[in-house]
């Protein structure tokens, strides 16, 4: 396989992987309104746990890490996703019960920093700053894949997983559960007045979203075979935010578009471009600036994102058109009534 295909399939992998990550953040932020500024932390937990589930016992590997259970591929990934979900429960119990919006966001970003420092400095956990490496490639032995054929193969696997997760997510967001999430996003006080247990619903959304984060992280671990703290600087959360804000909050197709534009075209493609002579690394650094500018431009000119949120119309829910529909007070009628009232006040 020549170099070009290697690049293409790497890009394809990141497109699908960030689609999964974007779906996870979207259900939390886009659907339920939870500003999860610690999102990348959940991704990292998924990645590390997938890694230590897959690696053999650490003795003799030259690395230090917990567990080391040599579990086969989909199992280790699932454990990674579920661990991220379990962590979400802990975080929700601490932070979500009492805090809302900006205060919650501040607590979460602090939490992300704490988690980062622990993983970066406490070596026995996930090998500290060196991170995990030499993580076995899934199916490489069984299918006799070499380094070149593994990349398109795993991009395909990720595509299948992304498709499955997209199907599940669209079922959820289109269901009454998704509607209740959006109600909480729009006004949690009203949702509570209508009998919704806001905390419970937010907890649900956190668990689902964090599972997606964990799976997305685990796939990165499996794809690259290594994962260390430079891969999940707390600022990386905002790349995922950029994906969903550019693509379109609350719209699963928009998320795929966002993943394509931000992650594939802006984050990863430039890494494959030839360096500008005399300015090594300039392109990568420009990257972050370009994403920032794009984000600002989007929020200014097209806040709904490239693909706007779907309006759930009655007909699309299977309701038949009705005739004789009773009187609707139009704006004009209301204004006329008001003018009448001010001219001759009721006594």
């Amino acid at each position: 396989m020549n170099g070009t295909w290697y690049y293409v399939f790497t890009l394809v992998f990141f497109l699908f992987d960030y689609f999964i990550l974007a779906m996870g953040l979207n259900i939390q932020y886009g659907e339920t309104g939870i500003l999860n500024f610690a999102y990348i932390g959940f991704v990292a937990i998924g990645a590390y746990v997938t890694g230590v589930m897959s690696l053999p016992n650490s003795a003799g590997t030259g690395q230090y890490y917990i567990l080391g259970l040599s579990l086969p591929f989909p199992v280790n990934l699932l454990v990674g996703g579920l661990t991220a979900s379990a962590f979400a429960v802990v975080v929700a119990l601490i932070a979500l019960r009492r805090l809302r919006t900006d205060y919650l966001a501040m607590v979460l970003i602090s939490l992300s920093l704490v988690l980062y420092d622990v993983c970066n400095n406490y070596v026995p956990l996930f090998n500290g700053a060196d991170g995990l490496y030499n993580v076995p490639e899934p199916f490489a032995g069984v299918l006799h894949l070499n380094t070149n054929s593994f990349i398109p193969f795993f991009a395909g696997v990720t595509g299948v997983i992304a498709l499955l997760m997209w199907w599940v997510m669209s079922r959820v967001t289109r269901s009454p559960a998704g509607r209740t999430f959006r109600a909480i996003r729009d006004d949690d006080v009203v949702a509570a007045a209508l009998g919704k247990d806001v905390f419970r619903q937010q907890l649900k959304s956190m668990i689902i979203g964090s599972f997606y984060a964990g799976i997305g992280g685990g796939l990165i671990m499996q794809f690259s075979g290594s994962f260390n703290p430079t891969a999940w600087l707390p600022g990386e959360t905002f790349v995922v935010f950029a994906v969903i804000l550019v693509g379109g909050v609350g719209n699963n197709i928009g998320l795929l578009v966002g993943a394509l534009v931000v992650e594939t075209l802006l984050v990863h493609l430039p890494a494959f471009l030839p360096a500008i002579p005399g300015h090594p690394g300039l392109i990568e650094y420009m990257d972050a600036a370009v994403i920032g500018i794009l984000l600002m431009a989007m929020l200014w000119f097209r806040p709904q994102g490239l693909v706007s949120e779907r309006v759930h119309k009655a007909a699309s829910m299977g309701a038949r058109e009705r005739l004789n529909t009773g009187a609707t007070l139009t704006l004009d009628e209301e204004a006329a009534a008001l003018a009448h009232a001010t001219g001759k006040p009721e006594a």
Binding site: A183, A193, V311, A314, E334
Partner: protein, 275 residues
Amino acid sequence: MKSPATIGSSGGGAFGEAALRCEGVTKAFQGVHAVNGAGFDVPRGQVTALIGPNGAGKTTLVNILSGFMTCDRGREFIGATEVTNWPSHRIARMGLMRTFQLSRELGGLTVLENLLVAAKDQAGEVLWNIFLRPGMVRRQERDNIERALDLLETYGLYRLRDARASELSGGQKKLLEISRAVMAQPNILLLDEPMAGVNPALIDRIGGYILDLKRDGVTVLMVEHNLNVVERICDHVIVLAEGRTLAEGRLSGLRENEQVVKAYLGEVIDAGTVR
């Protein structure tokens, strides 16, 4: 005005069982008593008005009764169940629905979705059911949609069913808020100034809806300043002043009460208008 005088009935006795009752409810904000020992019965199946001068503690009381604030002292009962300081969603599930003084629409949802959210006990809110019992979820959803559309027809919002709620006018938002609460099939409806900022034509319509709800057996407690409205649609009036129940009874009887006139009605009569 130290001792609360009571006119007519002292409790729910004369009206049969109380749908909602509070006793000695007290709430202080940094030492200032917003509600100071308010207690009354809301008779079942009737329309009761909660009136009183500005600062009497009406909205605070509504917030306490609906679980959006906790009280420092006092008790609250829905029927025979004590619900003192229960969280709002549990009180809502007991069948007490409230509306807000300034309409609060779920702006990103359509008008129809605003109503659908309110439907009780939705199987589709449980994630397992979406995948394991899709038929049941679909059937229930279809019934809810039909009922919501019926309500939208009744409240004259049918044509706006697919509009985002944030695009509605003020009056339409009021109607949406009431119809959304009705969608939840309440036993008790707590309306916080349903007529505030509403034009006279719409006041008549909302008044009609409230009487329809009464006919359907819903108990209504409404905070209201417009005494014409109170006179026309309310069976029972509770006067709140300085956080206490000052008097209760029919409006005609209360007009004769010196304390009430001094505390509230006088204010209005002096101003020469009842809005």
